[in-house]
Symmetry: C2
Subunit: 180 residues, 2 copies
């Protein structure tokens, strides 16, 4: 049993992971709890030792969202970018394609891997059926426009329902991959 | 308390209510039970006395999906069309705009109203915040392309989570309107 590739992400009910300009205010409305207060997030962190994210998401994290402390210091971070810079053992900048990187990481020993995003990283992984588990938290808002979690694909991907729960006023649903 | 406007509909995980050509095979895969086998559907039928649908959906029902018997004979059906034909007391063809029709029906006495669809009927009702309850069944498949449930809108619509359950291997989630 190789390590699992997990997409754990929040979307609006109409499927947006951010507004057009990248803002994610709808995830952190006054009524919403901090992400750390979600049991599903705590459970995720216990399962993984690696995170994969795009350069835009990384920059947003370190410059805007969490400027004081990088939130994934305890994991190995792979940051996919067209212009890799020098990193550290724990912070690896790479210009591999998302599906190449993931297939390489899957073949290595380790705990599970969290695909943080954004859309450019996620889309080819879904289209190549490389996500083992989809943990999708739906925020009960229709944004009307923004950056979609799911992109158009030529072929359908069949999944199976695993679980659904309400946590802090949001719905978290879990789906698993059904075929190689 | 006026009668409620209910959107009860199934979508793929990536938000499609049908394939590009209108086919809804993904809803009726061999592994899927008949819609009548869903408790949530039985509960819906007990609450409503009226259905609202577009002419394309109506034609698909009577010509392809249920040619032997019109499935909503016990309800009053409003079929929205640019070219109304003569109907009966129970089968009413109208060229009213969806939001006009719904506001008129809401002001009349009666049980709740089910918005069946399709997209051209649903979109203006959502954009005008006229849906009181969203009952959305998610089929665990990523279709990749098709006809989207949600259309782009200029302004966000805030909802609240009511419930989520797994039924017959599908997830049915319920959201309610939070503001007028």
């Amino acid at each position: 049993m190789s390590r699992k590739i997990i997409l754990y992400i929040a979307t609006s009910l109409d499927g947006y992971i951010a507004e057009e300009d990248g803002a994610i205010d709808f995830l952190t409305a006054e009524s919403s709890p901090e992400v750390g207060e979600f049991d599903s997030y705590t459970q995720l962190l216990e399962r993984i030792d690696t995170v994969v994210l795009g350069r835009t998401t990384y920059d947003q994290l370190v410059n805007e969202l969490m400027p004081d402390q990088y939130p994934y210091e305890e994991q190995k971070s792979y940051i996919i970018t067209h212009h890799p810079i020098e990193g550290t053992d724990q912070l690896i900048f790479t210009d591999e394609r998302p599906e190449q990187l993931i297939q390489r990481l899957k073949s290595e020993e380790g705990k599970d891997i969290w695909i943080i995003g954004g859309g450019q990283i996620i889309a080819p992984l879904i289209a190549n059926n490389l996500i083992d588990e989809y943990v999708i938290t739906t925020v009960p808002i229709l944004l009307g426009q923004g950056i979609s979690l799911f992109h158009e694909m030529d072929a359908a991907v069949q999944l199976a329902v695993v679980d659904t729960t309400i946590e802090n006023g949001l719905i978290t649903s879990v789906y698993s991959r059904v075929s190689e």
